[in-house]
């Protein structure tokens, strides 16, 4: 009798399990990833919580996986399904790759004529490149929130040399420059600085941008001009001055979710609509000032990324 009861229990469990896996609640797990720094991790966490609120299952293993050279191949290879991206730098990354491989017709190189300062043009060009990557990647709506590369000087340097914009640097070649490690080969960095402002990065100190070494070097006066991210809290904390990019060399780096087409293909029509709407709502509600403030809460006030993400989503009725 006891044996029979056990069998009955097992059978009913099986039925229950079967019901679960075939029921309407079945959605593929979304593998979210991001670059390694706080802002990318924060955006990825916001995407994750917003999706979870709509019943999606989220795998956060890839959040903070590493810089673009790591996270972009991971998205192409399917180790990640979704990641926040800065559209201008993302496009430049693939352009640089296309230039390096130089195989004819291997990659859709972006026409030089597009206005890289215009987010809509950049998004269109970026989407065209992404279609050819990793079996197809979709760029969802970009947010008004942008985090540009910004060249920053200390307040006293700005006062002493009367610096307000990038063009002012040309007359002050004695200033020590700190640029991103990839700057010499990055078309929107080394080449753009040379062409637009006549600044040569050959003798510049190469450091990880938007990161501790660059901030420390600027603090220590090892460099006078440093490449940081415009939303980086260190700028306000140290009262540093962002030089205006008056020749508009830096690309529009609005943030947008990148998602693999094969994940979208696995979703039912209704789920796909929900998925896209959730992420587009997040993009629509975020702006640069808010992003800067959330970044400060994480990297200066040392608040937990999850807590900051939840608070913002709740305040905007997204969860």
């Amino acid at each position: 009798m006891r044996q029979f009861r056990g069998l009955a229990l097992g059978a009913s469990l099986l039925v229950l399990l079967g019901a679960c896996s075939t029921g309407g609640g079945s959605k593929p797990t979304v593998k979210i990833g991001s670059d390694g720094f706080y802002e990318a991790k924060l955006m990825a966490e916001i995407y994750g919580q917003a999706l979870e609120a709509k019943g999606f299952t989220v795998d956060r293993t890839g959040i903070g996986i590493g810089k673009r050279a790591v996270s972009a191949p991971a998205l192409e290879g399917g180790q990640l399904d979704l990641k926040p991206e800065y559209i201008g730098s993302g496009l430049a990354y693939y352009d640089a790759g296309a230039g390096a491989s130089a195989a004819p017709g291997a990659s859709a190189a972006t026409p030089a004529t597009i206005d890289r300062g215009d987010p809509a043009a950049v998004a269109t060009a970026f989407q065209a490149v992404l279609k050819t990557k990793g079996g197809g990647i979709t760029l969802l709506n970009y947010s008004p929130a942008a985090d540009q590369n910004a060249f920053v000087v200390r307040k006293e340097t700005a006062d002493q040399f009367h610096l307000t914009k990038m063009s002012d640097l040309a007359a002050n070649s004695s200033l020590k420059l700190g640029v991103a490690t990839d700057c010499p080969t990055n078309p929107v960095c080394g080449k753009a600085l040379k062409d637009a402002y006549g600044i040569d990065v050959v003798s510049a100190t190469l450091l990880s941008p938007c990161d501790t070494p660059m901030v420390k070097a600027l603090l220590a006066k090892t460099i006078d001009v440093g490449e940081l991210c415009s939303t980086q809290p260190d700028i306000a904390v140290n009262s540093w001055v962002v030089l205006q990019d008056d020749k508009k060399t830096q690309p529009a780096d609005n943030i947008a979710p990148l998602v693999r087409d094969d994940l979208l293909g696995k979703l039912s029509a209704a789920d796909k609509t929900t998925f896209e709407k959730v992420l587009n709502d997040v993009s629509a509600k975020m702006d640069t000032a808010t992003l800067t403030d959330l970044g400060k809460q994480v990297s200066v006030d040392n608040k937990d990324i999850k807590v900051v993400a939840t608070a913002w989503l709740k305040a905007n009725s997204l969860v």
Binding site: Y93, T181, D182, P213, K216
Partner: protein, 230 residues
């Protein structure tokens, strides 16, 4: 196979052998920081190790300090040192001193431990008979203990050298230059040929200096010891 070809092409491209970012200058920087930190490390660790080995005093303290030195990751040491060394000099204090000090910290443990171990393992009978023959303590150390312990002492220097040459690559993160910059830049610029070219250069330098010290080790080993080992 293609990566081997592109690394070979990178290594033989004349453009990579000129200018401030070229291989000769960065190789010289790498040798410079390695030699400097090994010299400072040896200047600290050799006398200390010899003294501890001879007197058997402070053994526990020395071993614990050495293990502590091994436990601190060099990357962390560099990051921690930067805010202090920049007070000395904004330029070198950022780019050179942190890596130099971190490499000294890395070089000290193997040199210290090996010189202590080499001396302390000298046959006590030899030391006693030397003392019985009327040698002073300093003479015992220089005429008996050091010659016998020399292969072990240089062995410590060898492992310190390999570790320092390989780890000094980290300095590139804080703008040191040297061979590490090929690795850091190659990774950031998605230039695999540059990245692996840098790796090959570092490995070659480490193996060459290892080999040279190995030759020195053989040359300096007393013939009597060489015979005894056979």
């Amino acid at each position: 196979m293609t990566i081997l070809g592109s690394v070979a092409a990178w290594l033989t491209d004349p453009a990579n052998w000129t200018g401030p970012g070229g291989i000769p200058i960065r190789l010289a920087q790498h040798i410079g920081i390695s030699v400097a930190s090994l010299a400072i490390g040896a200047a600290i660790a050799l006398p200390a190790g010899l003294w501890i080995g001879h007197t058997r005093r402070g053994v526990r303290l020395a071993i614990n300090l050495a293990n502590l030195g091994r436990a601190v990751p060099s990357l962390a040491a560099i990051g921690i040192l930067v805010p202090f060394t920049v007070l000395i000099d904004p330029e070198a204090g950022f780019k050179v001193y942190p890596t130099l000090i971190a490499m000294v910290l890395l070089a000290v443990p193997p040199i210290l431990v090996n010189s202590y171990a080499g001396i302390s393992e000298v046959d006590p009978d030899l030391v006693e008979s030397a003392r019985g023959m009327g040698l002073r303590e300093r003479q015992i150390l220089s005429a008996v203990e050091i010659p016998i312990a020399l292969p072990v002492i240089i062995g410590g220097l060898r492992s310190a050298t390999v570790q320092v040459v390989a780890t000094a690559t980290l300095g590139a993160i804080y703008g040191l230059g040297a061979l590490g910059s090929f690795i850091v830049e190659g990774s950031a610029q998605r230039d695999d040929a540059k990245l692996f070219g840098g790796v090959v250069l570092v490995a070659l330098l480490a193996l060459t200096s290892e080999g040279l010290l190995g030759l020195l080790q053989r040359r300096l080993t007393s013939p009597g010891l060489r015979f005894a080992a056979r």
